[in-house]
C-alpha cells in the first residue's frame, strides 16, 4: 500500500516539468555606497539560450557571480537546476567560463580538465576529456603547461573546463573576449550545439551580433536593473517602414503619425509599425496616402537590429533619469 503511494508520488514528480535551469528573484548587491545590482529577476529555461546584454558596469558579471555563489547577494534568491544556490550541489551540473579566466599555470591542459572533473564529482572517461579538448581546438596541446598558453588558448581551455563535466547549464561570461574571428565563430557553433543537445546557456557578451544569432531570449541590464527582457521576436518585433514621399499635407501627416512613431528628414519619412500586424498595415497606409493626394516614390520595409534596439533602450533610460 505504502509502496504504491510512494510510486505514485514519484510518477507525479517525474511528470512535473523540470525546474528551470536558472531562477533568480530580487537580486541586490551593493559595493560600499554603489549599488551594482538592484532587484534583478529572470529565469533561464532548460535548453534555452539567454543573452545578458548591457553597457560596462551594468552589473552583468556581478549577477552571474551571485548565481554561482561566488558573490553573496545582499538580497534575493537563486535556484540553479532546482536547488538553492547556498547548496554546493546546485552547481553539480553547471559549467562556467569566468570573464577573468585563469587556470593553474603549473598544470597541463589535460590535468586542469582532470581536476575539474574530480571537483565536479562526475565520471568522465579519458576519451571524453580528449574530445572536449579537441572540440575547443586544443587536442595537440593537452600535455602542455597552461603557463605557456596565449590568452586565446586559455580562453579555449576555459570553454573546455565549462563543458567537460557534462553540464545541464553552461554560464559563459564574455566567452570570446580573447578570441580571433574564427574562434568567435567556433564559440557560436558550440553554443548552438549545446542548445541542440538541450543544455541551457547563459551568455554574457558585448558582441550583440553574437547574441542575436544564438540567443532565444535577451535580458538587458542597465545600471544594475533589468531595462528590458523578452524573446528576440518581442524585443525586435517593432519593425519600421521608410518612405520617400512628396505632396504631404496635414491630413497625410496625421495618417502617418497615427500608424506609429514618426520621424521626418525632408521628404524621407520613417514610421514604426505596430508589433501586432496581420499584414494589412503597409498596404492600407499606402492606399490611404495615395487617396490623400500624396505622391509615393519609395516604400522600404526595415527591421530594427538588436543593436539599434539596445541603444534605443539605453538612451531612453538615460533620458528618463
Amino acid at each position: 500500500m505504502e509502496n504504491t503511494a510512494v510510486r505514485a508520488a514519484e510518477q507525479l514528480l517525474a511528470a512535473l516539468p523540470p525546474s528551470p535551469a536558472v531562477w533568480c528573484s530580487g537580486l541586490r548587491k551593493r559595493y560600499g555606497r554603489r549599488t551594482a545590482v538592484d532587484d534583478v529577476s529572470f529565469t533561464v529555461d532548460r535548453g534555452e539560450v539567454l543573452g545578458l546584454l548591457g553597457p560596462n558596469g551594468a552589473g552583468k558579471t556581478s549577477v552571474i557571480k551571485m548565481l554561482l555563489g561566488l558573490v553573496r547577494p545582499d538580497a534575493g534568491e537563486v535556484l540553479l537546476l532546482g536547488r538553492p544556490s547556498g547548496d554546493p550541489r546546485s552547481r553539480e551540473r553547471v559549467g562556467y567560463l569566468p570573464e577573468l579566466f585563469r587556470y593553474q599555470p603549473w598544470l597541463t591542459a589535460a590535468e586542469v580538465l582532470a581536476l575539474h572533473v574530480r571537483l565536479a564529482g562526475v565520471r568522465v572517461t579519458d576519451d571524453e576529456r580528449r574530445e572536449c579538448l579537441a572540440l575547443v581546438g586544443l587536442a595537440d596541446r593537452a600535455g602542455d603547461r597552461v603557463g605557456s598558453f596565449s590568452k586565446g588558448m586559455q580562453q579555449r581551455l576555459g570553454l573546455a573546463v565549462a563543458l567537460v563535466a557534462r553540464p545541464e547549464l553552461v554560464v559563459l561570461d564574455e566567452p570570446t573576449s580573447a578570441l580571433d574571428p574564427i574562434g568567435r565563430v567556433d564559440v557560436r557553433d558550440l553554443v548552438l550545439s549545446l542548445k541542440a543537445r538541450g543544455v541551457a546557456v547563459l551568455l554574457n557578451s558585448h558582441l550583440i551580433g553574437e547574441v542575436e544569432r544564438v540567443c532565444d531570449r535577451v535580458v538587458i541590464l542597465d545600471r544594475g536593473r533589468v531595462a528590458a527582457a523578452g524573446t528576440l521576436a518581442e524585443l525586435l518585433g517593432a519593425r519600421e517602414l521608410r518612405l520617400h514621399l512628396t505632396g504631404v499635407e496635414a491630413a497625410a501627416l496625421a495618417r502617418l503619425a497615427g500608424t506609429g512613431a514618426l520621424t521626418r528628414t525632408g521628404d524621407d519619412f520613417t514610421v514604426a509599425l505596430p508589433a501586432e500586424d496581420d499584414g494589412t498595415a503597409v498596404p492600407d497606409l499606402v492606399a490611404d496616402l495615395i487617396a490623400l493626394g500624396v505622391r509615393v516614390h519609395a516604400v522600404e520595409p526595415g527591421r530594427i537590429s538588436l543593436e539599434e534596439r539596445l541603444l534605443g533602450i539605453l538612451r531612453h533610460e538615460e533620458e528618463a533619469r
Binding site: L70, V71, E92, L97, F101, R102, H116, R118, L119, A120
Partner: protein, 282 residues
C-alpha cells in the same frame, strides 16, 4: 574526496613552483656549510686536543641548535610564501573562480589547501632535519636526545605559521600575507629573546614580553621546545647561569598545557580563516 583533490593539487603546486627549487637550494647550502663547519670543529679537536669530550658535545649541540634555527627559518619562509599565493594569489588572478564555481564548499577547499601545506612543510622539516642530524652524527658524532620530538615540534611551528599565512591571505594580497607572517615570526623570536634576557636578569616585566608573545604566536615557544629536544642535556648545567638568557639554549621542555594551547590556537586561527574565506566575494 574534494579535500584530498585540493590537498594533492596544493602539494603539486608546491612541487612545481619555483619555491621548491629555492627551498632545495637554500637547504643544500645550509647542510653543506654546516657539514663543512662541523668537520672543521672535529679537525680542530684532533689537531689541538683543546676541548674535552664534554666541551665538544656542548659546542656541537649549540651549533646544531643554531643550524636548526636556520632550517626552521627556511621552512617558515617557504611555507609562508606558499600559503600566500595559494589562496590570495588564486583569488587575485581568477584561478579561484572556476574552482569555487564547482560543487565544493569553501571550507573544504581551505582544509585541502591547509592539509597540502602542512604535508609539504612537515615533509620538508623531516627530510632536511634528518639530513642535518646525520651530518652532525657523521662529522662530530653527536646525536640529539629527542630527535623525533624536535622534528614534530618544528613541523608544528611550520604549521602554526602557515595557518597564520592562510588567514592573512584571505584578507590581504599574496605578497603582503607572506611578509606579515614572516615578520610576525621574526618579531616573536626577538620578543622571546628579550623575554629570556628578562628571565636572566630577574626582571618580570621584561620576561613577560616573551611569555605574552609566545602565547599570541606559538612559533617561538615551539622552537624553544624543539631546541630543548636537540641540545645536549648536560648543556644547561655545563654552561651555568651566565648563559641563562642565551637565545640558542632552551631552559625547559614544553608543558602539555602549552601544546594544548598551540593546538587550540591553530584551530581558532583556521576557523577565522574559514569564516573570512566563506564570507568573501570573489
Amino acid at each position: 574526496m574534494t579535500v584530498l583533490a585540493v590537498a594533492g593539487l596544493t602539494l603539486r603546486e608546491a612541487g612545481r613552483r619555483k619555491v621548491l627549487r629555492a627551498l632545495a637550494v637554500l637547504t643544500v647550502a645550509l647542510l653543506g656549510l654546516s657539514a663543512w663547519g662541523f668537520s672543521r670543529l672535529a679537525a680542530f679537536e684532533i689537531d689541538h686536543g683543546g676541548l674535552t669530550s664534554g666541551e665538544s658535545r656542548l659546542v656541537a649541540s649549540q651549533l646544531l641548535n643554531l643550524v636548526m634555527f636556520g632550517l626552521s627559518l627556511i621552512a617558515a619562509l617557504g611555507t609562508a610564501f606558499l600559503a600566500g599565493p595559494t589562496l590570495a594569489g588564486e583569488l587575485e588572478s581568477g584561478i579561484a573562480l572556476a574552482v569555487l564555481a564547482r560543487p565544493v564548499r569553501r571550507t573544504t577547499v581551505l582544509l585541502g589547501k591547509w592539509l597540502g601545506l602542512v604535508a609539504f612543510g612537515s615533509g620538508f622539516v623531516a627530510v632536511a632535519g634528518v639530513a642535518q642530524f646525520l651530518v652532525v652524527k657523521v662529522t662530530v658524532d653527536y646525536w640529539p636526545p629527542d630527535p623525533v620530538v624536535a622534528l614534530v615540534l618544528l613541523a608544528a611551528q611550520t604549521t602554526v605559521l602557515l595557518t597564520l599565512g592562510l588567514l592573512l591571505s584571505t584578507v590581504v594580497s599574496p605578497m603582503a600575507s607572506g611578509i606579515v607572517a614572516v615578520g610576525l615570526f621574526g618579531a616573536t623570536w626577538v620578543a622571546g629573546v628579550v623575554g629570556g634576557v628578562g628571565d636572566a636578569l630577574g626582571n618580570d616585566g621584561v620576561a613577560r614580553v616573551g611569555t605574552v608573545s609566545r602565547m599570541l604566536l606559538p612559533t617561538d615557544g615551539l622552537w624553544r621546545g624543539a631546541m630543548h629536544a636537540i641540545q645536549d642535556p648536560t648543556a644547561l648545567a655545563g654552561l651555568g647561569p651566565a648563559f641563562d638568557g642565551f637565545p640558542f639554549l632552551s631552559q625547559a621542555s614544553l608543558t602539555l598545557a602549552y601544546l594544548a594551547w598551540t593546538a587550540l590556537w591553530v584551530v581558532l586561527v583556521w576557523g577565522l580563516a574559514a569564516l573570512s574565506f566563506v564570507r568573501r566575494d570573489v
